[in-house]
């Protein structure tokens, strides 16, 4: 079994700035592995161990995304690949999925891909489904439990708003992980030191036989703004009984009650 995990590097918290050309400025904020991708990595490692397989982590991102790839290696992944190309700065989720699909096809022998359900910065939730389509593989999204995974077949629970769906599929397949799928391991210091010198190859678009104009355009960001400030609120005064009576009165007046 050869598992790929798609790892996105994101800002640890989202108090980002918006540049005048609509790009995001996250300078000064620690970059981390997208939370949901940690569950994806852990799940891939566990099943690869059971199935005598190997795990490759792939990230499309800037040079410093190697930090996240190194962390994934220290958790136990076998190989890492960075995809970085000057023309990929503003690529959307669908374009990114097309590029990563080409990288997975280049690897050739991959039979399962783990993604996070969503990134905590762009939050599109679109990458996994798009990747599956570009690969021509089935998808299992919002996976909350993997019951069974062999070289040929997978059975999972998908956690939807109010139902749990048990679904099976044949490999190859793309899955997307939700929080609490497992408990991601912490890399040991020893492991971190060991992988610090492991080379991480960088692939560009031309390595993948792609050109920038085949990737974008379906969605454009016309404008980015901070959220509108909320109308300034009101702190209720008086003793508890008075405050509570006033609050309920206001809720009735605004037809909430």
């Amino acid at each position: 079994m050869h598992a790929v995990v798609c790892v996105k590097q994101v800002p640890e918290q989202n108090s980002v700035k918006i540049n005048s050309d609509t790009t995001i400025d996250a300078s000064g904020i620690t970059p981390i592995i997208n939370l949901f991708d940690e569950y994806a990595i852990e799940e891939a490692l566990q099943w690869a161990e059971k199935n005598d397989g190997k795990v490759t982590v792939i990230s499309l991102g800037p040079d410093d995304a190697t930090d996240s790839l190194k962390k994934a290696l220290a958790m136990g992944a076998n190989e890492a690949i960075l995809i970085n190309d000057d023309s990929l700065g503003q690529v959307g989720a669908q374009g990114a999925a097309k590029v990563v699909a080409a990288a997975i096809q280049k690897l050739g022998d991959v039979n399962i891909v783990f993604c996070g359900k969503q990134s905590t910065d762009d939050e599109t939730g679109q990458f996994g489904p798009a990747l599956a389509r570009f690969l021509g593989w089935p998808q299992l999204t919002y996976v909350f439990k993997v019951h069974e995974l062999t070289d040929s077949q997978i059975v999972v629970d998908r956690a939807l708003e109010d139902t749990l769906e048990t679904v099976e599929a044949s490999l190859p397949v793309v899955i997307t992980a939700v929080k609490d799928l497992n408990e991601p391991r912490y890399p040991s210091l020893l492991k971190i030191r060991k992988v610090s010198k492991q080379p991480i190859p960088t692939w560009t678009l031309s390595d993948l036989g792609l050109s920038a104009d085949s990737l974008g355009g379906t969605i454009n960001i016309a404008k980015r703004t901070p959220p509108p400030p909320r109308p300034s609120g009101e702190i209720l005064s008086g003793d508890v009984q008075t405050q509570v009576k006033e609050l309920v009165q206001k809720l009735i007046e605004s037809q909430i009650l």
Partner: protein, 325 residues
């Protein structure tokens, strides 16, 4: 050539979903703005009853793919059916809800068709003659205005409460589209109701508790009862989900659910940026916190500086007295 604004008619147990009625309202506005017509797309098995319901809710033409292969949702089945209808009839816009199943569907459909998707939007309108969608990202710290390239249809998955249901029924034809030969590569073995599952996204009132509730027993005693008398459900901050007081299903915030109810009540919650990310677009926000400096007050419509142990029981009693619940 105008080909129409389509709304995917979502349904459950033979009833069209509340989100669909809202989207027909929104779709009408877009269709009028574009000088086009409003239509519905029904995918399912034995769905003839839904055509009338869709029309009653405002759809004009209704496109139908009715096939046993669509009895339960699968990505492959739905994508193949929608693609067949879209390729035959060329809509300009396709609107769906933004439930997890719809996000699974639209993400795959947009890639399959090579068209643009605006996912999980909080607004969509016609600006200068073109469709523009608005969606928050970065934990609601960034509001993105999105426009589309030349590919059609433009696909938009939309949150609750973005559109208003229509009063008037639509009129038009029913157009059947044959289900294409499709290999459905996933097999749904079982669907069960999730124990303790809550649909926070659909709740009109949410009362959430945080670490300030003091203990799981205190949360259980005070929060669900207040939520009940307000006619809503209860949620939580990550602090107490991680502490094991409350299941993850109820977590609101960046790594939990994004909600926008009519009323959001934050009890003993400090208002960390990651919590605000999940609830700051609620209509009315009430904060109850004993620290007047707590950041939650910055987003609150009404604030009470006080101890949850005093305020919540009094509030529950007052709501009961006024509503008889």
């Amino acid at each position: 050539m105008a080909h129409g604004v389509w709304v995917l008619i979502e349904h459950k147990n033979g009833e069209i979903a509340p989100i669909t009625k809202e989207l027909l309202g929104k779709g009408k506005e877009l269709a009028d703005g574009l000088g086009q017509s409003l239509a519905g797309l029904v995918l399912g098995s034995n769905v003839s009853g839904l055509v009338e319901q869709a029309r009653a809710a405002g759809a004009g033409n209704v496109y139908v793919v009715d096939d046993a292969a669509l009895a339960s949702y699968t990505t492959d089945g739905y994508v193949a059916a929608a693609k067949a209808a879209i390729e035959a009839h060329q809509p300009e816009v396709l609107l769906t809800g933004s439930s997890l199943q719809m996000r699974d569907f639209t993400g795959a459909l947009a890639a399959e068709l090579g068209t643009g998707l605006a996912p999980d939007v909080t607004g969509v309108s016609i600006e200068g003659g073109a469709v523009q969608a608005v969606r928050p990202s970065h934990g609601a710290n960034v509001i993105n205005a999105l426009t589309f390239g030349s590919e059609r249809p433009m696909i938009v998955s939309v949150r609750r409460q973005v559109g208003q249901p229509l009063d008037a029924a639509g009129s038009g034809e029913t157009i059947n589209v044959a289900m294409p030969q499709t290999e459905i590569r996933t097999k749904v073995r079982n669907v069960e109701q999730r124990t303790g599952a809550v649909n926070l996204a659909d709740a009109m009132v949410i009362v959430s508790g945080g670490r300030g509730m003091g203990s799981p027993e205190n949360y259980e005693k005070l929060i669900p009862e207040l939520a009940r008398v307000l006619g809503g459900t209860h949620g939580a901050s990550r602090a107490i989900v991680d502490a094991g007081w409350v299941p993850y299903e109820r977590q609101v915030g960046q790594t939990g659910k994004t909600v926008a109810p009519k009323l959001y009540m934050a009890c003993g919650i400090s208002g960390a940026i990651q919590h605000l990310a999940g609830m700051r677009s609620s209509n009315t926000i009430v904060a109850i916190n004993k620290d007047p400096e707590a950041p939650i007050f910055k987003v609150a419509t009404y604030g009470i500086v006080g101890d949850v142990n005093d305020v919540l029981p009094a509030l529950t009693e007052e709501v009961k007295a006024k509503t008889g619940r």
